[in-house]
Symmetry: D2
């Protein structure tokens, strides 16, 4: 499909994958007035998008004639399936969309393979992983990092801006995957550091909520430190991201670093502490249990502080019409 003649406001867009993250992202596109058709394996999960003006289709093949198709699926194998499997988006080489934008978290290997499959069929492939979770999406704070052919990026840039608060183009190829992994290494290190210093000040007589309120307001405060604060204060370890998932990201990051001959002393040490959290067997909880391990190592018994803590992703933000 020749994209050069497409009028941006006229792009017809497909969406594959309406899980927790995907549906929130697609909803933002639909609410922005984009002509959107969505598909999901369990179609019921896509239905709510109709309230926002989107269509829902019953087969991936229905999306082959779109200018742009987004994919937001769970894992590498899922992406391979929706693109190249029976009835997949690229299964009929003569009948393909113009651009595929993949926002899933997949391995670099899969990213490379899907890029090559797209290129063989004349489809532009953008790797566009995201920083944030479902609540972050709804708060309009999602960030995307994008790599692939620059013209394709420029064509879809306005769409990406509807999805989140920013999209950053970092170059050709699959480098966006590496950037996402690097970002997640920092997420792990920052969480461990929060655990270390929160326990330090608590043993020194400062409540966790007071400390984290200061930290969040300080120059070190980030959206992430804010939305981790409720768990740290009230010891609610309902999972947003498990130790096993974080360990997987460290595996990927350390493997990438090894391949590129880059030592990562602080990240590598943090990886071992994450491994130790896995060693507790509490693999179904949030990786915030790093706080528990730090407290135990410090001879401190933590108790919930039972204080309401703003996660920075509140209702006001949710109602943001974007």
């Amino acid at each position: 499909m020749d994209m050069t003649t497409a009028d941006p406001s006229d792009l017809r867009v497909g969406w594959i994958g309406t899980g927790r993250m995907g549906v929130a992202m697609a909803e933002r596109l639909a609410r922005a007035g984009v002509r959107l058709t969505a598909w999901n394996r369990t179609i019921a999960k896509a239905e709510p998008l109709k309230d926002h003006g989107a269509d829902v289709c019953g087969a991936i093949a229905d999306l082959r004639d779109r200018h742009v198709v987004f994919t937001m699926v769970s894992a590498s194998a899922d992406l391979e399936h929706v693109l190249l499997g029976d009835g997949g988006l690229l299964a009929d080489p003569g009948h393909v969309p113009g651009i595929v934008v993949d926002c899933s978290t997949v391995s670099t290997e899969t990213s490379v393979a899907m890029r090559e499959a797209c290129e063989e069929r004349g489809v532009s492939f953008l790797a566009a992983p995201v920083s944030g979770n479902g609540k972050v999406v709804r708060a309009g704070q999602l960030s995307l990092v994008v790599s692939g052919p620059r013209p394709a990026y420029e064509t879809v840039a306005h769409l990406l801006e509807h999805i989140g608060k920013s999209a950053t183009y970092v170059g050709e190829g699959d480098t966006a995957r590496l950037v996402k992994i690097a970002h997640n290494l920092m997420l792990g290190v920052v969480t461990q550091t929060m655990a270390e210093i929160t326990v330090l000040v608590e043993k020194g007589g400062v409540s966790r909520h007071a400390f984290l309120e200061f930290l969040n307001n300080s120059v070190m405060g980030s959206a992430f430190t804010r939305y981790k604060s409720p768990a740290f204060v009230n010891l609610d370890y309902s999972p947003t991201f498990t130790p096993l998932l974080l360990r997987k990201d460290f595996d990927l990051g350390l493997a990438a670093a090894r391949g590129l001959d880059v030592p990562l002393p602080v990240a590598a040490l943090t990886a071992q502490l994450v491994q130790a959290s896995v060693g507790t067997g509490r693999v179904e909880e949030d990786f915030s249990i790093l706080l528990d391990l730090q407290a135990a190592a410090s001879g401190l018994e933590l108790k919930p502080e039972n204080v309401a803590v703003d996660d920075g992703l509140g209702p006001a933000s949710v109602e943001d019409p974007s």
Copy 2:
């Protein structure tokens, strides 16, 4: 001085210390309409405050009748001198201000000693160290963390809000000092982590400015990561904070942790990497040289990218009348 009858809008305020940080903080108070008189050893540095409606005095003794006196000096010895030295603020026990608010970075020992000296004279002492540098102050983004008697805090809270964007009360005594140290440990770890992952992605083919733009927009982005980005991108290591100063904070933090029986694996490792940066002899540069050490360890030669990078503290913010 009995503070309980003071009408907040009527507080007469003194300010001791108008160095780079102090003058910017005092200016914000003056511009907010607070009745302010400032003193500085080199009086010329205080003069510009007159343009914003403040008075300048020639002797610390002139500030003994204030309701509140702020101190913002360079080091522990300076604080001891302006409070207890000849002609110091507390040198005449029968003639003292109601509240002293110290925003300097001083040792916990000095903080405790000054608190005791104040208490003996019936003066309330608040420890109120800050997170940020001069540019952060002018951008209206300074954060303060405060400890000491709660009534004193409540009396001055509205003043603190003029000085920065937030002030967090963390409890009695000198705990604010510990909180500030904990904050600075995080600052060091985050910088080292930024160095690790920035070099990682650069070896993977991503420019530093593109990567940091994404990072700053992501949930991991903070005011700090933003204002460190120009140095990382363009290798401008003009000092805002030197390796020696950062090492001093790690010394304090690790000593506090040792005293409280708290292991800090990631912070302790970072301290060693900061020490290694001192080992290069480049102790007059910014501690961002951690990036150079990481690059050298990775066999990467860094070059300035010569790209304009927003530090998040731009002119618009500077003109913010707060």
Copy 3:
């Protein structure tokens, strides 16, 4: 071949691989009076064994009728080739030796595969990697760690004692490979630690040779610290083991630990420091260059001390008839 009836002193032994390590090990067997026939790809390297009473053969197939065949080759692929390649030891299933003892450093995967290939043909396979280098062998200080069928171990135990000073049986299967990897992790950590503390005392005014003499005589002294001492004292980095080889062992060790859910904080950090030594590009030198990196990080310029240092593997030992 039925081994149960074999008289120990009557075992006919084959040896495959007479490189630097292999020839020294085989020589010790031959000198002990064992009936030995050796094969090597470059036959000239095996010839010196004749001086010690061994035979040399021109084809691996000539060793198929031995009770026991040792293998000591360079890498996993070599082992696969000499066992299963054309004309390999196991290429004729009806005509195989009783026991294969592999002393090479190969991957656990290859070890498992060779074990299975042996078992299919009724051959007992012992994994028997070693701790030491060629000079250690000649000094009679080699240690072997052995895993596999216990009866096979018992049959060859007296042979192993001729080869080195000890052989330790650690269980069934390929666990000896893991033990060897664990041993090499310690080797890396100890070297880094020697580098740290040697530089520490040198900056404190103690010569490296005096310090290491004490250390070697102390309860911390090992054969390893002794034979690394000359390099540390005189900065002779002629390779015995390169940073790349050490990194490979750390890769294997950390992968094994990851697979077994074992955090290795100190080993993982050391791996990053080894990676940093690779980052210098000095990959052809000995991994003792860790000392140089430590010195550079400490602002210390090292100079050779030009002092004769006993490596503990001296001529007296070499002439030890074992």
Copy 4:
């Protein structure tokens, strides 16, 4: 006292401090035929030395006329007391011994102060801390590291050789203290590393006793790894050295490194792990509990293996007449 005319075999020697270590060291001197008089606060602890030909005296002052006096006391304050306190060895400036050899573990500050006090009185002071524990002494395996005036060292060298298996002279002044501290850093790192790799191989199916037997026989084996092995195998954590004592040595070592601008990444990390062991509250046990922490972090429940393990300090050695 003029030492230059003293015939070595004729030296009259005093000994202060016959605690667990001291009595064993003094006994070795006495058994070697040295003319020895011992003093101890609790005189009963010195009495057994009479069986080996030594005398026991009731006052430190009785030792002021000795050529050489050894001190082996518990802590810095004790050393200051026996030398400079009322009735102390140096309390009468006109009546002092020729050489004081201090084998205690004291701070560098105390060492410097005692050296100066000796010099003022014309007494040569040797710092001679030791590596080993009481059992190591009796096994004849103690090592001493010595600093101070070289002529004094040469005068006493033959005595030191009776006490242990070696004495290493490392230079003027108090550098022997730094060397001892450096040695103890290595002791901590090696123990943590043993914990890491022992748990690694145990999760991989190898018993601790088999693994440690190999390790001890390998080039990495030291007297230390040998005498720690029984605790690791049978989980007997009767203290030889507590986590608190080890932490103190890390405090000293890291402070020395900080003062000398030497980063110690691996030692500093180990210090945090030692701190975490203190955090368990098990401060009365041996620091071998690092093994327990490693096992817990690995999700492994340790059980005593109930296997007799040679600690390398056996009865044969004890009976060594030296």
